[in-house]
């Protein structure tokens, strides 16, 4: 049996970033993810804002890591070929009481090392956001704030890790962890893996995974958030990420211009019991619509194209901080748990911290001299020039076949996703990588084509193709005909 130096459990953005970081070293690393794709936990259900660090309490683990992580994003985007935009951020104040809160957050921001942060007046906000609620009086401005698609970032981390020697196993839910001498034997339903160290990046299930190894140091509970996606074409939409004044557990309901030109409105914040309940709730959706109208009163709420939800992994009784530590019970077990917001912004720095903890726990980290930090950006047909499009089609006819009409996604892009380093194997896997089915018609026109391409490439019947998780078949056989 292969013996790994490190097994990472959980392939969200945290686990993927750690995998990529560890691939800089000459050690044997594997990542086990229970889903059929990476990033299916909190990582696919969030707002994608790379917060610069105005919110966390100075001195907390979160504060340090958030600011350090966020700073790396522009460079990472170049290395790893994921998209990034820089809309900047306003935290809006309505009156003098809010101004106090903003000043408080300004102080946090400065102490957490944000260079450009200041309080601006109503006119400055209005110049940039002409349709802003007229009752806004001030705003905290953080112009360096960026936005990413967190799934794309996680995929980029994971694919670059694979390229540099990490093995990623999908569909592997860890069910059992046993100690074999110094090592761990990690078992799923179908396979076992031997490893010297475990990194627990299992999101909302980190406490359950720890328990498998007999480690009970914290308890977790998910904080649920609903989100809405709006059409790209709207007369009134935000140019800037805009939050209201924050509450104790949440930054409040924001509107976020995405890298693709849509608007996301999120998120609510409700403590839940069920760690897998990512349903949308009616009162949540209603609260989001009220929330966005508090910021942009005239935004057209008929332009919603999709709702979704995510669960923030919260370690209880831990002041909403991250829990990134060597286990007190077993020093070869490292927690990267409780990665609630802003876990996306923090991921690159969480990975470095985990690397240091592994080192502290006795793992030697010789440099991988062959480490290649670059991952080529996927081809996006729609943004190419006419000349480039023509060349691409001449080389490969599949790029001349538009599959998704709303987002202009070609068969060539879909094939590239299916043949990627971490291949898309499901309809939603294709959607997340290529945007086929993400537009206004929400796959009404292209779902059949995507199904057919997947079935053809995997050489299976169309009835076997899944939407997302196992059991999510779309087709139940042939009609009587």
């Amino acid at each position: 049996m292969t013996k790994y130096d490190v097994i990472i459990i959980g392939g969200g953005i945290t686990g993927s970033a750690i995998a990529r970081e560890l691939s800089r070293y000459k050690i044997k690393t594997a990542l086990l993810e229970k889903g059929l794709d990476i990033g299916l936990g909190a990582t696919k259900g969030n707002g994608g804002v790379v917060h610069q660090g105005y919110d966390p309490v100075p001195g907390s683990v979160k504060a340090k890591i958030n600011a350090q992580g966020a700073k790396q994003y522009p460079q990472l985007s170049k290395e790893l070929g994921f998209e990034i935009s820089n809309p900047g951020l306003f935290v809006l104040g309505f009156g003098e009481a809010d101004l106090k809160v903003l000043e408080h957050k300004l102080d946090y921001g400065i102490r957490n090392g944000i260079k450009e942060i200041r309080i601006v007046d109503k006119d400055t906000v209005k110049d940039r956001e002409p349709h802003i609620n007229p009752n806004v009086t001030h705003a905290l401005a953080v112009p360096s704030t960026t936005v990413v698609d967190p799934f794309e970032v996680a995929l980029a981390f994971a694919e670059n890790a694979v390229d540099n020697g990490v093995t990623v196993f999908l569909g592997q839910a860890v069910k059992k962890i046993e100690k074999q001498g110094q090592d761990f034997l990690v078992s799923t339903e179908t396979k076992s893996y031997l490893t010297r160290y475990i990194v627990n990046a299992a999101g909302n299930h980190a406490d359950d995974v720890a328990k498998l190894a007999g480690i009970e140091e914290y308890q977790m509970q998910p904080r649920h958030g609903d989100l809405l996606v709006f059409d790209r074409e709207m007369d009134i939409k935000p140019q800037t990420v805009m939050f209201p004044c924050p509450g104790p557990d949440t930054k409040g309901i924001a509107c976020i211009p995405t890298i693709h030109g849509n608007t996301i409105v999120g998120s609510t914040a409700t403590m839940m019991d069920d760690k897998d309940d990512v349903a949308n709730y009616k009162n949540g959706i209603d609260a989001l619509i009220d929330g966005v109208h508090h910021i942009l009163p005239e935004l057209d709420d008929k332009k919603i194209i999709r709702s979704f939800a995510g669960l923030r992994p919260v370690v209880l009784d831990h002041d909403n901080d991250f829990y990134i530590e060597i286990s007190k019970t077993d020093s070869h077990f490292i927690h990267a748990a409780g990665i609630q917001s802003p876990g996306v912004a923090s991921a690159p720095a969480i990975a470095e911290r985990v690397r240091d903890l592994l080192n502290d726990a006795g793992l030697d980290l010789p440099r991988n001299l062959n480490f290649n930090p670059f991952r080529p950006a996927p081809t996006i047909f729609n943004v190419l020039s006419e000349l480039e499009k023509n060349m691409l089609i001449k080389n490969n006819q599949a790029y001349g076949h538009v599959v998704c009409r709303c987002e202009t996604v070609t068969e060539g892009e879909i094939l590239a996703a299916i043949k990627g380093k971490i291949p898309a194997t499901t309809v939603d896997g294709v959607k997340r990588r290529t945007r086929a089915g993400m537009g206004r018609c929400q796959s009404g026109f292209c779902q059949y084509k995507v199904l057919s391409i997947l079935a053809r490439e995997q050489q299976v019947a169309i009835e076997e193709i899944l939407l997302e998780d196992s059991g999510s078949q779309l087709i139940f056989g042939k009609v009587k005909g």
Partner: protein, 417 residues
């Protein structure tokens, strides 16, 4: 590749085909650009009959209706680009498309937009709950069942009583799926009376009015839906929920004109119909660009699409031949009473007869319709029952239109109950 045409038609559904045939009849060079591998548009998947009664005076299936026009297109000297998707149109009428040979550029003198429509989705109506496999639009189900012989589910609940929902209820029942019921938010069925009878009653499928799907339950596949009665404002009534076990939810909740390209072209859109603003020549706010069929406004009968498209094709050909310049600055918006949802055209001038099509917002049982030019009453007529699902028409003679500066108003007065 670059080619010149007098008229380029975007979309090869019934609207595009009729416009092309008519334009070609005027002796101009015509191209149709169609994304799919055959002409016919949405008709290819509508295998039920009920098409053509008005235009061909016989009852045809969708593919038969399309076939008639495909033959006409073939006979005329029309260049057809299949598997070719238009990605951009510029105001100087350069049409950019892609297909397997590469980029295709067509330079046109006039353009007809005939891209059809798409279906409203779950997101648009904000149904809460889980997001499993088994929630799909009626049009997608139609494609799976009618064209690919695939079964998208076993036990089906349908939301929406428009004609597509009703026709799919029957289709699925005929194909051996269990249709548990059709649920409709409004207190009346949205489809044609004959479809309620032929598609539901004859198959013992219940229709539940003033009821909506309030939640989707189950993951990774639909396990049930929660339905709930609504009050006269369409709001769910607490305590009136019911769980219906099923594995599929079919949505038939409306169609939206597909105007991505129109927006790139910079056309003005009409927020009420979701189609381009056009005058009575079906000409948009960009000179020489015309629109017809479902891209202009959603039609219930394909026969009406054909009639409209013939007009668009004719006007496009004339524009290409004579470069007719109209002074639209003088055109006026047609005003209408609140109970009317929209009119097509939305602007008019006094140079020609005017056919106004419109839909009402809610059912109206009797009343009268008055047309004013300025404050002068120019016509008045009694009306029968109007439903939002059916398109109504009023035809006005050029001479009736009086002075356009005074504007035109259509006032629908309901008979007081």
């Amino acid at each position: 590749m670059m080619e010149n045409f007098d008229v380029v038609i975007i979309g090869g559904g019934p609207a595009g085909m009729a416009a092309a045939v008519e334009a070609a009849r005027k002796g101009v060079s015509v191209a149709i650009v169609e994304r799919n591998d055959e002409l016919g548009g949405i008709l290819n998947q509508c295998i039920h009959s009920g098409f053509g009664l008005q235009y061909f005076k016989e009852e045809l299936t969708g593919p038969e209706y399309a076939e008639n026009f495909k033959n006409l297109v073939e006979q005329a000297a029309i260049k057809v680009f299949l598997k070719t998707m238009v990605t951009d149109i510029s105001p100087d009428k350069k049409v950019t498309a892609v297909n397997e040979d590469g980029l295709v550029t067509l330079l046109a003198k006039a353009i007809v937009l005939a891209m059809g429509c798409r279906e409203r989705t779950r997101g648009a109506i904000k149904i809460p709950g889980t997001r499993p496999a088994g929630v799909l639009t009626a049009g997608l189900a139609q494609r799976y069942v009618n064209m690919e012989n695939l079964k998208p589910g076993n036990r089906v609940v349908i939301l929406g009583s428009g004609d597509i929902g009703l026709i799919m209820a029957r289709r699925l029942a005929l194909e051996g799926m269990e249709v548990l019921g059709v649920y409709e938010l409004m207190p009346y069925a949205n489809g044609l009376f004959r479809n309620v009878k032929n598609c539901l009653d004859d198959f013992g499928i219940p229709l539940h009015l003033s009821t909506t799907v309030s939640r989707v339950i189950g993951y990774p596949r639909v396990e049930a839906v929660e339905v709930c009665q609504v009050d006269d404002k369409g709001c769910a009534i607490a305590g009136k929920e019911k769980i219906i076990p099923c594995d599929t939810l079919l949505l038939s909740v409306g169609l939206i004109p597909e105007n991505e390209l129109s927006l790139k072209l910079g056309l003005k859109l009409n927020g009420a119909s979701n189609g381009p603003v056009v005058n009575q020549d079906l000409e948009s706010s960009v000179k020489g660009v015309f629109a017809c069929g479902n891209v202009l406004h959603v039609h219930d009968l394909v026969d009406k699409v054909t009639v409209e498209a013939i007009q668009a094709g004719k006007n496009a050909a004339e524009f290409a031949l004579f470069n007719t310049v109209r002074r639209d600055e003088q055109s006026q918006f047609i005003k209408y009473s609140n109970n009317i949802a929209y009119t097509v055209p939305s602007i008019f001038n006094t140079s020609k007869d005017l056919l106004v099509k419109f839909r009402v917002r809610k059912p109206i049982t009797g009343g009268q319709i008055k047309i004013f030019s300025g404050d002068q009453l120019i016509s008045e007529s009694r009306i029968r029952d109007f439903k939002p699902s059916s398109m109504e028409e009023i035809s006005l003679k050029k001479d009736d239109l009086c002075d356009q500066a005074k504007g035109l108003s259509i006032i629908l007065e309901e008979a007081s109950a």
